[in-house]
């Protein structure tokens, strides 16, 4: 299988195997018209198996949102076919429409157009709570 190398863009590496599509959707990569490769079940020394996403476009993306879904991910920034930076992701302060509030008493359960927003209330333990009812995300 041949996947062209990237000129300017980024590679999302060390994605837990099977989560590639979720990350692709979360970052809105389906809206791009550049080359995007999702490589699944790549052999990895560290993880056994992993997914990788390659994006051949020099665009701004907020990577922190994926920190909640898969905190072990690394991002390689590519310029002129060379890796110029390697980033790890952090837990974001706020998650919008990433998780849904399960509290039946929460306003988000009856008003369908409200964004489901969760805020990081305890970074050490990775606790997120619904902005509206303060229910803990599970």
């Amino acid at each position: 299988m041949n996947i062209d190398s990237i000129t300017n863009g980024f590679v999302i590496d060390h994605i837990t195997a099977g989560r590639g599509m979720r990350i692709y959707e979360l970052l809105g990569l389906d809206n791009l018209d550049c080359s995007v490769a999702i490589i699944k079940n790549v052999t990895s020394k560290k993880l056994g198996k992993k997914d990788i996403i390659k994006v051949d476009a020099d665009i701004e993306i907020d990577f922190d949102v994926i920190g909640y879904v898969d905190p072990g991910i690394t991002i390689n920034i590519i310029r002129n076919c060379e890796r110029v930076d390697k980033l790890s992701v952090e837990l974001p302060e706020k998650l919008t429409n990433v998780i849904k509030c399960k509290n039946p008493r929460c306003i988000t359960t009856t008003e369908q157009e409200i964004n489901h927003v969760f805020k990081l209330t305890d970074r050490e333990n990775g606790v997120y709570r619904c902005m509206y009812c303060e229910t803990k995300a599970k």
Binding site: N103, R105, C106, I107, T108, T109, T110, E111, E113, I114, T121, D122, C130, M131, Y132, C133, E134, K136
Partner: protein, 306 residues
């Protein structure tokens, strides 16, 4: 636009200012009788509440303003399926400030995000009820002269009692607070409140099922009602509703300056015979609720002007 959705929206300094303002209103009511002339308060009550709604309305009327609104969802556009966001945008065209009660948790926050006028949370389901907490704080301040170094007992339904959670949260910011939690096993304070509020702020607390054994320690006894509407199961409600009933004989070992509080309405958890005890402060709390709401309306309207 500044609103009050959660008691933690205000800093300790702001709470102190609000309490000072309420105390000034109590001392000089005539000074405030026309402060809100020409202003309108909209009371949007999507679930019934006599006390809170009338307290807000009385507060606005005493400030010289006027009130409009509804007292149940059936008489509002919500019955036609209007969203909270649209209601808030619409009411912003008619009024200067909103007081909202809603059965869904977070609804007043949604209103505040969409209104162009200040929104006061007048209770959102079992979640927050910050103006009750303000009334409680004003009462404690007036009865005890401050908030530091107090042993506060919370008795009854500590699981579903939102007033208890809010007051514990508010008091946890002061020095030397000791908390005593008195409840049946099934209605104990949720562990997240113990962990996120009490433990996080190093507030010493103890839990007991025996009210009389801890009575001599208490500076404040905050009684609560076991609320039928918070139970999914009628049998559980009937079994627990009479768990703690405060009667004069239970007060024999209490401090002479104990302050007995209750957010009201009560059912039978405080015997009527206790009402004549000078330590009963629950009707003072109701009156204080009106004064602190006056101070709050003034503060939020003042900030909206800026």
């Amino acid at each position: 636009m500044r609103s009050l959705i959660d008691i933690l929206d205000f800093s300790i300094e702001e709470l102190d200012e609000l309490i000072a303002s309420a105390n000034d209103i109590i001392a000089n009511p005539e000074k405030y009788s026309e402060k809100c002339k020409g202003k309108k308060l909209a009371t949007l009550f999507f679930e019934p509440s006599t006390r809170t709604r009338l307290s807000f309305e009385a507060a606005m009327l005493e400030l010289g303003g006027s009130v409009l609104g509804f007292s149940e969802a059936n008489s509002s556009s919500a019955a036609k399926g209007e969203s909270v966001a649209d209601t808030a945008k619409t009411i912003s065209c008619y009024a200067d400030i909103i007081a909202m009660r809603h059965p869904k948790e977070g609804a007043p926050l949604v209103a505040a995000q969409n209104a162009s006028i200040p929104v006061i949370n007048a209770g959102d389901g079992g979640h927050n009820h910050p103006t009750q907490t303000l009334a409680d704080l004003l009462t404690i301040n007036r009865e005890k002269g401050g908030f530091n170094n107090l042993t506060v007992g919370f008795c009854g339904d500590l699981k579903f009692g939102r007033t208890v959670h809010s007051l514990i949260t508010a008091l946890s910011r002061y020095e030397g607070i000791n908390v005593v939690l008195i409840s049946p096993e099934e209605l104990k304070l949720p562990s997240y409140v113990k962990k996120d509020v009490l433990a996080k702020n190093n507030i010493p607390y103890k839990q007991t099922t025996d009210l009389e054994s801890v009575m001599p320690e208490l500076d404040i006894l905050y009684m609560t009602r076991v609320q039928r509407e918070r139970f999914f199961n009628e049998e559980d409600y009937l079994r627990l509703k009479d768990s703690y009933i405060l009667e004069p004989k239970k007060l024999k070992n209490a401090k002479k300056d104990l302050c007995i509080m209750h957010p009201l309405p009560r059912v039978n958890e405080i015997s009527i015979a206790v009402d004549s005890d000078p330590r009963a402060c629950y009707f003072k709390q109701v009156l204080n609720g009106k004064y602190i709401r006056m101070a709050l309306i003034l503060k939020l309207l003042e900030e909206a002007k800026k």
